[in-house]
């Protein structure tokens, strides 16, 4: 399975111009060997920090899918591909930070899945919850490469989300992201603290569940805040197969041997162990889950 990540530097608010830049990247892939799966970062076609402009720029998933399919075909004709892209979604007046998974075939395209970001960061520099609604579930869905799930940026910072995706059968986690860089201590060793955190999260998550993770990071500066790229593919042992630089736009390519998933899970069967214990963990009536509240109130 061949993957290409477009480590994208959008021009703020310029949807059409960004789509043209994506088309150029797709054409470059055509010239250099077509991938099976292409992944673009979170908010790739508009830029991330939009504030109220999100209501001017958000598109329906259908609109975004149509534009991406047209861009791919303009670049590569009838060549098929699977494509994931982060975008701001307008669903009949409700707005989400979303990513769609699109299958493009020679004579048709279809939206396989739309993931709406569950965890909207709203602290410090972030203000997503002010402008957007949150998604309600993480889903695993069928792809030609096995079951996959999309997690958007902070979704991955809550270990329960990739855990649930893996429990639902996802063998491939696709993570479009827009991560503003910060942390420049003397102990950084050439890497921002926030980048280190991401690198560790990706490695630990992939290794714990025995999944491939494809991480697509936005780059460029928006109002002084620089996004940290570092797009990467991490194998089910937790080892990065490839990792891009933090600052520059580029295309990241990797070939994934999906058989490694079973090998990794056989060597470190943590996901199987979790499956066995999961019910006991979630039936714990000290957890703040609805059935527990009923129990608590009857006590």
């Amino acid at each position: 399975m061949k993957v290409a990540i477009v480590q994208f530097k959008p021009r703020k608010g310029c949807y059409t111009e960004n789509l043209a830049a994506a088309t150029q990247a797709f054409a470059q892939m055509g010239a250099q060997g077509l991938p099976d799966l292409v992944v673009l970062p979170e908010a790739a076609l508009t830029g991330y920090f939009l504030e109220g402009a999100v209501y001017e720029l958000a598109q329906s998933a259908q609109h975004c899918a149509r534009d991406l399919a047209a861009a791919w075909r303009q670049a590569n004709g009838a060549a098929p591909v699977e494509l994931v892209c982060g975008f701001y979604e307008n669903d009949a007046g409700t707005y989400y930070n979303s990513a769609l998974y699109l299958t493009i075939e020679p004579d048709a395209y279809r939206i396989v899945h739309v993931h709406r970001k569950l965890f909207l960061p709203t602290y410090g520099v972030f203000d997503e919850d002010r402008f957007l609604s949150r998604g309600r579930r993480v889903a695993a869905f069928e792809t030609p490469f096995g079951r996959a799930a999309i997690l958007l940026c902070e979704d991955l910072w809550h270990s329960i989300v990739p855990t649930m995706a893996a429990l639902k059968g996802a063998r491939l986690l696709i993570v479009p992201s827009a991560a503003p860089g910060r942390g420049i201590d003397a102990s950084c060793a050439g890497e921002l603290t926030s980048v280190t955190r991401w690198r560790e999260l990706l490695s630990l998550t992939a290794g714990e569940h025995g999944v491939f993770i494809i991480y697509a990071g936005l780059v460029g500066f928006e109002g002084g805040k620089g996004f940290t790229g570092s797009s990467s593919v991490v194998d089910p042992h937790g080892v990065a197969l490839v990792r891009a630089d933090a600052l520059d736009a580029c295309i990241v390519r990797a070939q994934l041997d999906l058989r490694e998933i079973d090998a990794a899970r056989a060597n470190l069967p943590l996901l199987g162990d979790l499956n066995a214990v999961l019910c006991d963990l979630f039936l714990d009536d000290e957890l703040p889950l609805p059935h527990c509240r009923c129990d608590a109130s009857s006590r």
Partner: protein, 282 residues
Amino acid sequence: MLPVVEAQARYTDPPGIDAALAQRWLVAFLREELVTRRGMSRAVLGLSGGIDSALTAYLCVQALGPESVYAFRLPYTTSSAQSLEDAALVVNALGIHCRTIDIAPAVDGYLKLEPDANARRRGNVMARVRMLVLFDQSAKLDALPIGTGNKTERLLGYYTWHADDAPPINPLGDLFKTQVWRLAEFMGVPAQLIDKAPSADLEPNQTDEADLGISYPRADALLAQLLQGAVDAQLIERGFDPAQVRVVRARLDRTHWKRHLPTTAMLSNTAINEFYLRPVDY
């Protein structure tokens, strides 16, 4: 006996910096703000002879090349001769354009109408005349004025509002003064500028640390923890002098307004920056 491994708290140390990483990040920031976002290639900055503007010049040269950096020395009658010489050191080391414009006629043209103006007012007038010159020169040269203020002075309110803070972009504004020193060392700014006592140079023999009542390393250590939510009692437990905690806390708390745009009376549900919210780069 077992060996003991004990955590070493170093609360009173100023925050450190990975200088190579900071340099790379700030150079990328300058290129993106000027070239990518604005389609510009030239930078204008005032070169005071101090470390902040010197380091900014070094970063601008890395981002744009020396031929695109226009430095201005803007002395007033009371400015120290040493400041002019130190600024010249930077110009000669970098090979950037430099022009010296005496601001005394402009400053005195106004102040002769206000002979009783105290030192603070006079200093503010000088700072605002410097801002006026830099913005006018930026229009003449089709260049962007670059701010040079550091995080420490921004947090302590130790600058003139709508003067030092006026340029549209600022590479050093999230670096404490002690981090500026470390980055300047790393980038090869002449040691003479790093070692001398920082001064606003608005009055003879003025130094920042005397004005502020605390050294920069101590102020930076205090501010770094204060910004992360440490309360005064914690800071005193961690080895800071109670009087200095009070000084820094008071300066921070009474200057929040200085770090914002002017307050506008809100009358509608489309008030700018209250309801109508668009990012600066939109």
